[in-house]
């Protein structure tokens, strides 16, 4: 991470755009995650130096908010909504089925790194609950069968959808 590539250039640009202001830390973390996919220690230290903040402050902020990912996700990502509407519509059963079939736990990845299972609290499509997101596709009114089939297909097809 933080090789001399495009992403670093873009990040530098963003930091500059915000005038190296400590108050734009969240904005910068968002951009960094957008560019790199997740925030690792080197990246956070880099940002801390650029904003002249203690690295512990940056790590403290990044870990406080659940939106920031601190680990590299797998090749494919399934995210289950654990918001109220989805909970009431028994999303938990679908999540458990995924855990069992693909041998992984919520928040973790399969041993071959092909699939990660994450949770989120409401993606705002509650009227279609329960919602499961497979890579970038939202599956609404989800059932165990449809979701498992979708994940199997995704894994078999390889590569991201978009």
């Amino acid at each position: 991470m933080l090789k001399d590539d495009n992403r670093k250039m873009m990040l530098d640009k963003v930091i500059k755009k915000f005038d190296y202001e400590a108050s734009s830390l969240l904005e910068i973390l968002h951009k960094a995650q957008e560019f790199y996919g997740y925030l690792d220690k080197n990246l956070m230290t880099y940002i801390a130096n650029a904003l002249r903040l203690p690295p512990s402050h940056v790590v403290g902020v990044a870990t406080f908010y659940s939106f920031f990912k601190l680990k590299a996700p797998g090749e494919h990502v399934v995210t289950g909504c654990l918001g109220t509407a989805c909970y009431v519509k028994a999303v938990d059963e679908i999540m458990t089925a995924i855990e069992q079939e693909f041998h992984l736990k919520r928040g973790g990845s399969t041993s071959d790194g092909k699939l990660s299972l994450f949770t989120t609290r409401c993606i705002g499509a509650c009227a279609m609950a329960p919602n499961i997101i497979v890579d970038d596709e939202v599956i609404g009114k989800a059932t165990k069968e449809v979701v498992l089939e979708r994940v199997r297909l995704t894994l078999a097809g390889g590569g991201r959808r978009s």
């Binding site: 830390l25 969240l26 406080f64 939106f67 109220t84 939202v138």
Partner: protein
């Protein structure tokens, strides 16, 4: 641009729209997009060309109509025909029959008319009717005329007077009188002053604020402009969840358009009034919606609440006076200025004027986004608007007010919805979630679910909330795994009361509500779990069952 020019744009736009015989509005909000709304939009654009009616048919992308559970939704005007679950394949038939032949396709129309009957749309006045990506659409509906009126004919005090007279109370949950908050900020002499529009919407299962931003972003901006004029602020932030990409995009575009027309910036409508606006992104922390926590977050720190006073009205962002207001509250403001505070005060009830948007979800026939006058009963919402229970299953409870709201039983269904009566029965308005559940849900498990959420979301700053909620969580683990004791019921009640009284911020002060209300209204289920190790809904004791199975 001057006020007169605004009027001209409106007239021009209305003429432009009148030139079309039909308008096809395709909902492209985040409830419908995942289910193919953009493809439907494209199919309509192609079909009107194919049938040679593109000159008389305007195909527009709009925001949420409210019937999100049967999306993608399409409205064809004139006549307000609402088509449900539209797929690209169905589009040709709709255009051929409805537009070309003049025969609406009956079996594709939405038939839950009752869903709209008891609603009253003030905040969502333009939702589903205008294209949120075109500022002209908003202006044609009278948009920005309210800020124009303020700048041309009203003093800041006059604006505050009108808002006070409307009786509007904050829609972010606590229901504090908006006019009073404005005069607090207006009265301080420190400058600069700031406005923060709260679009954090951290309650899981709630989407009204997001939908508003996606459907009518300029209503929020205009509300902020008027508030800024009234309190004397020159800079505003909209704090929005990063999880809402479409709402962010819509607002960014709207802000750019408003700046382009000098509706934002150094010289608003060439009156010398100055107001600038930026977005700030939340990052998934429920507590960040709390008013002192949101300040910390905008300043780039962890969203930890701090004790009040000082209130943000005196010492907010960077220690300066700051007005924090929910976006639904703000979207009410142009309506109040246009129609007058007195007119507004007659909608709803005497103590709670106006309307409230609710995200209506759960085991009912018509989930979706609704806006109802204050004082409507829960029964009307569940049965008339919501269309009753899905699959005719028995009603069990309605959860009002998000994860720290209350779980109310059938006996309370005739309760009118307003801040005070909800508080009286142990619930809260919150930011407007209504979840209806049937007998497949277990009340103990439900209360446990909310507690787990609050444990995760507690910022950990004060002991009653941090340690108290964990204690409650552990007790729930015991009860739902078969090791509960009857004393636990009293212990839960006591812990809940204590956390409510001793917590620093609203999160801790309301987090025990689901526990306390389920204890109050569904106590027999707790007793059953503890004494008989029985869960009526079959949600609990899963580990126990598994152990038994394994043993066999």
């Amino acid at each position: 641009m001057k006020l007169d020019d605004l009027q001209k744009i409106a007239e021009h736009e209305v003429d432009f729209q009148r030139a079309y015989k039909h308008r096809i509005n395709v909902c492209c909000s985040s409830g419908c997009v995942p289910f193919g709304a953009l493809k439907v939009l494209k199919a309509f654009q192609e079909a009107v060309r194919e049938f040679g009616v593109e000159k008389e048919c305007k195909v527009a992308r709009t925001g949420c109509v409210g019937t999100c559970s049967v999306g993608p939704a399409v409205i064809i005007d004139p006549g307000d025909y609402l088509y449900q679950s539209v797929t690209p394949e169905k589009v040709r038939e709709i255009v051929r029959d409805h537009i070309v032949l003049g025969l609406p396709v009956k079996d594709m129309l939405y038939h839950g008319e009752a869903f709209f009957k008891k609603q009253r749309r003030l905040v969502l006045r333009n939702a589903g009717k205008i294209d949120p990506s075109r500022i002209e659409d908003y202006i044609a509906m009278g948009g920005y005329s309210a800020i124009g009126k303020c700048l041309a004919t009203m003093t800041p005090q006059g604006v505050i007077y009108e808002v006070s007279r409307s009786g509007l109370r904050g829609r972010g949950g606590a229901g504090f009188p908006t006019g009073q908050k404005w005069s607090l900020v207006a009265r301080t002499h420190t400058t600069p002053k700031y406005i923060v529009a709260n679009l954090d919407e951290g309650d899981p299962g709630v989407f009204a604020n997001r939908t508003l931003a996606e459907a009518d972003p300029h209503a929020i901006i205009e509300g902020m402009l008027i508030a800024a004029y009234a309190v004397g602020a020159e800079k505003g932030y909209i704090y929005i969840r990063a999880e809402y990409p479409l709402a962010i995009q819509t607002l960014q575009k709207a802000i750019a358009q408003a700046k382009g027309m000098s509706l934002l910036g150094d010289n608003v409508l060439e009156t010398g009034f100055k107001f600038d606006l930026e977005l700030r992104f939340g990052a998934g922390a429920f507590v960040a919606g709390e008013e002192t926590a949101i300040l910390a977050s905008v300043e780039g720190r962890r969203a930890m609440p701090r004790p009040r006073p000082p209130y943000p009205a005196n010492s907010g962002l960077w220690g300066k006076p700051t007005l924090i207001q929910n976006v639904e509250t703000l979207a009410n403001i142009p309506v109040i200025i246009q129609n007058g505070g007195e007119w507004f005060s007659k909608v709803g009830t005497a103590k709670c004027s106006g309307t409230k948007c609710f995200s209506l979800t759960g085991q009912i026939n018509n989930p979706g986004l609704i806006e109802v006058p204050m004082g409507i009963t829960l029964r009307e919402v569940v049965y008339d608007i919501g269309g009753g229970m899905q699959d005719n299953r028995p009603f069990k409870a309605v959860l009002v007010g998000g994860p720290s709201g209350g779980c109310l039983p059938e006996a309370l269904l005739d309760l009118p919805i307003d801040y005070d009566s909800l508080t009286k029965v142990g619930a809260i308005m919150g930011s407007g979630g209504i979840v209806v559940i049937d007998d497949q849900s277990c009340m103990v498990d439900t209360a446990k679910f909310f507690t787990d959420f609050c444990v995760e979301e507690s910022c950990g700053k004060c002991v009653p909330c941090r340690a108290g909620l964990v204690k409650i969580k552990e007790t729930f683990e015991n009860i739902t795994q078969g090791t509960g004791k009857l004393d636990d019921i009293a212990a839960l009640d006591k812990a809940g009361q204590y956390i409510k009284e001793a917590s620093l911020c609203g999160l801790g002060q309301t987090a025990p509500n689901p526990v306390l209300t389920t204890l109050r209204y569904f106590r027999d289920e707790y007793v059953e779990h503890i004494v008989e190790k029985k869960c009526r809904a079959g949600k609990c004791f899963r580990n126990l069952k598994k152990e038994e199975d394994d043993a066999q």
